[in-house]
Symmetry: C2
Subunit: 186 residues, 2 copies
């Protein structure tokens, strides 16, 4: 677990052994099995999660019982219900495991403390947030602009390894197209 | 201009006069008139912009000549083509002025230098980026989940002052609904 997190951070900022020990002391490990829930709609959310291994999905169930997928997260991705975490509101999303999953959790408070203690980590998290912002803008443009075929092709080209691990039904719920439409494309 | 930026930053972190002078030295002012372009598709993008007064829109024109609005930005909002800025790729978006607009510009390099010089500013920009991320997630959920009426009502309730200043045609291009659909709602 330690190595995965260190490698991930060091893609952005180098850390000494001592610095990484400080970083790691703010995280605690969590192990879940396939189909377990990490967050349930209505929960209060205190943590952000780094996926060490496995795969989860964060999704919203609408009034008609239809699921819409906000995010997948596999190795080296960060996930939580960010709105609930940052605004201290009840979770709007469920997050469950599509595979057995190992995570590292950090609370919002501890993340702020870590960033205050190590300026490098504030830099790291700023850069990660910026990259995430760009990815979401790209997705919005794709939702506004592209037809189902283009969305599907973009998904395959951006996330080829995810595409291998996720069912077509879930991909459809992520792309905002019907399962039937996707079947004609896939 | 100085006061607007200072007030905006101090909503997140307090600054001494000396610190703010450092911050402000990294920005340069820019004045544009209604209909002027801040960024043109294909441009290289080096700056992020803070809107002091006025209103701009960032939009993508698709192959059929249809505009999709990525973002509006009015007083106290930040705007640029973030993908182009961060990935150093040609701008995919146009950004133009819906009103006469005053901005403060900071280059990506200077932003990094400022954040390195003043840890507080790294904190500030991390928090702003996190808030932006949450807003984009909310918009994605709205695009996946809500029908046109709900999207329109959410827009009005989230951005009442923007709603007053932007034409229905542009709101439709932001919400991803047709002008005709919006007319039936508005």
């Amino acid at each position: 677990m330690k190595e995965a997190l260190r490698k991930h951070i060091e893609e952005v900022v180098p850390l000494t052994d001592e610095q990484f020990d400080i970083v790691f002391s703010y995280f605690r490990p969590k192990k879940l099995q396939k189909k377990d829930f990490l967050v349930k709609q209505g929960d209060s959310v205190n943590c952000e999660y780094f996926v060490v291994s496995g795969l989860v999905k964060a999704f919203y169930t609408d009034d008609e019982g239809k699921d819409h997928i906000m995010q997948f997260a596999m190795e080296n991705w960060w996930v939580t219900d960010y709105q609930a975490l940052l605004h201290k509101t009840p979770a709007q999303l469920d997050i469950d495991c599509l595979e057995d999953t190992k995570l590292l959790c950090i609370t919002l408070e501890d993340k702020d403390k870590l960033c205050a203690a190590l300026h490098k980590m504030e830099y790291f998290f700023r850069k990660k947030s910026n990259s995430g912002y760009v990815a979401l803008q790209r997705r919005i443009l794709s939702l506004l602009n592209n037809d189902a075929k283009e969305r599907y092709e973009q998904f395959m080209s951006l996330y080829p390894s995810l595409y291998q691990r996720v069912s077509k039904t879930l991909i459809a719920a992520y792309l905002g197209v019907t399962r039937e439409t996707l079947s004609r494309l896939a």
